[in-house]
Symmetry: D3
Subunit: 172 residues, 6 copies
């Protein structure tokens, strides 16, 4: 039985949002939690474009916030699927912001969100594979294994000494 | 000059939320991004109770979602400060949900959010220390060092071989 | 047949909210209606914890707003069941606010919300009793009768001269 | 110095809302707290039309919910000023709902909200008087005294034996 | 078979809204899109009052925004049905705003929204007629034909030379 | 003095939204007003990318809704500037929706929104020109004159007989 394959491009999603007063703190910076929320929606749509099924977030890798985003700025969120593992879907998302009056565009953060696709009974179900089409997509595809090991170790579901890919980082 | 010290308890924050239709996907599960948003608000309040200043989120450690939360369930979010480092504040947050009609309460996830306190010019500023008062608080306090090393490595700001605490995990 | 009994503590609910721009008037004070809304959610959760069933608000006693709550302040809403009468549940809720930068905490208001529990056909149904465990809970429990008479009189469902408990207030 | 006078009609406000999923409980009934919130906005606008200044809610009299309002129904909220006392403004609000497909219109509840007008320093300030123009407005105007006594007694700011108007209800 | 007839008055809807921070741009003007949204809700309720069925928006005629509406102002939206065509319902809506502190009331814009009523299978279904009761209602009723031709031409569903009513405007 | 010129591409904006329960009517169709609101935000961002200043909506041309958008569908809104006239900016926006589980993508509607750029005193100010780069952009650019005449006629600010471009449509 042949398996369905999609390109990374078919899963791309672009969201644009404006920073409104209710989403900022008293210094007029966008709350980190709101960015995490937007990134979850964008990546869930990317995962949904791959799976053509409902998906649920199973994990978010560490997110660092590089630059505060200011009230009134325009935020662009771009996401895509990087690799799939049976029933789980790793997605990558990047956030940029732009202050239109001063014409400054700045990078805010990126993240990996992982989803599981569910069948009509709410049980995890097999998803199509993605096939990288260029060098950058291939690099993301290859790195997915290492990120997956780190996720399992942090979640306490893999022993560090079994994580061959990661171990190499620490032992030279 | 003596430095201000607070107890972990002084920073505790409890939020209760109900899962509404707009926050769920088509299977009536609460979106992961909404939980991340609520956890950010709770931990920002905890960090604010410590610093008595505006705070901004600088990072969120990996979050795994153990159990999907259903429409109509009551969600309890409990957060507190675990340790501070000069200008940064590590907080811990736990999420539980409860289905009232069936009287089932289930654990959903936990996470570490890190904040920086800002002075009136928006620059990072020194924060009070927290002092652990019991064994569990001490354990969280001690673990903060290791989590901080992992954060710096993942963010590309520390070399793995310099992370003494983490290295021990991989090399025995 | 024995009847179910719960403690007041089992019904306690704590909500924490931040005052956002959309909820304030032009003087940056939180609208009274928003507080009433939050108090309704907190007390409905307390009533739901008692009844383990859907509940509907049937009345709110007079609410006085002591201190205006300012934009950016952190609001804490604590609610609990005080007493039940067959199908109805009286709850009590207290609201405090805190300005973190100035470290000032101030009392805002309190209120009694009454609910009815509904069965699966949407009809009022019998609810468990609460048993006061300390002096303060006993006082709230005892006062519930007098508050109930006042409610019925104001709603035009009881004649003032039948309200023995209340009458004593006016005739000495 | 002559004092400004307005008619009740000049303060009338009509709001129309639709009941949306996020405002209902699991039985598809509109939450009481949402109605209280809408009534607060409508009456605040009525009070603002009288005072031409910012106003803050100082109290809400007891509210009873007669009929549950269902998801999708159209809610009409009508408010007006009934009487003023130096710096405070009593308003009356009535809520009706309508199910368009079945052509049924039903009364939901009414309430009295009291506001204080604030000057530019946020201090209570004198407001115009309202002049009743018909029998119904006169009745509301006259009843305001008795309602004010009850408010003060419940808030603990007047002794029951001083409330002459109310006392008559209990002692015949 | 006799057909149901309603008056224009039976379809009147009044909405009152306040301009909140989240709905304004950086110059504190209400976004045009929010006004279009409010006008859609008001006219949908008017169309629903006529049809006593669910309705969907099928078109909005050109809308011009005469005066910017400012943060904090009170917006009044009044709508009514002007004429029906088998399954479609033309509605008219006018928007006024008022700045309470300065006592200035100004006209903002008006528009025609057209709806189709749907039966329980989601198919367009016949609606009652409206009968104009005064000169202004008659004028709106009569003008509906010309507006309908323009709509069909712009939507590419009628050839300009077939639009007899409109043609007269251009050829004299 | 040389004038600033931008390409159409520099003004492109893509928004992705999901249809949530609160934005639908009782037949689970997205409200037309919500689409109009989203289109206004997307086009305002496009106009802001051109002008690098705050912009206000001055008019929306007739909008026809071709296909109802269903609850849960993913909506893509793409906008760009088509032409500018001194201080005003015409933008074009297209809306597509997609039902992920059934893999059906359908066109919903398109529209022209016109904005004016404001200087720091809130007065209309000159904006850069856009230069079409391909046939389709040129066609939109050329059609802008005719659309502008129709807008002015409908708004009552131009006599039909002066609208040379439009007249040709009716008189052959």
């Amino acid at each position: 039985m042949s398996e369905e394959v999609k390109t990374v491009k078919e899963t791309c999603t672009i969201m644009t949002e404006m920073v409104l007063p209710n989403d900022t703190n008293t210094l007029n910076n966008l709350r980190g939690g709101k960015i995490l929320h937007w990134m979850d929606i964008a990546t869930a749509i990317s995962a949904g474009k791959l799976a053509n099924r409902p998906v649920v977030t199973v994990s978010v890798d560490q997110v660092s916030f590089l630059n505060p985003i200011k009230l009134g700025d325009v935020v662009t969120i771009e996401s895509k699927v990087t690799r799939t593992f049976n029933t789980s879907i790793e997605t990558y998302v990047e956030v940029w912001a732009e202050n239109l009056p001063t014409r400054t565009k700045y990078r805010c953060n990126d993240a990996y969100y992982t989803f599981v696709a569910l069948d009509s009974n709410g049980k995890p179900t097999r998803v199509p594979r993605v096939e990288p089409q260029n060098e950058e997509e291939q690099k993301q595809f290859d790195g997915a294994l290492k990120r997956r090991q780190l996720r399992l170790i942090i979640a306490g579901r893999m022993k560090p000494e079994e994580a061959e890919e990661l171990k190499a980082l620490f032992v030279q």
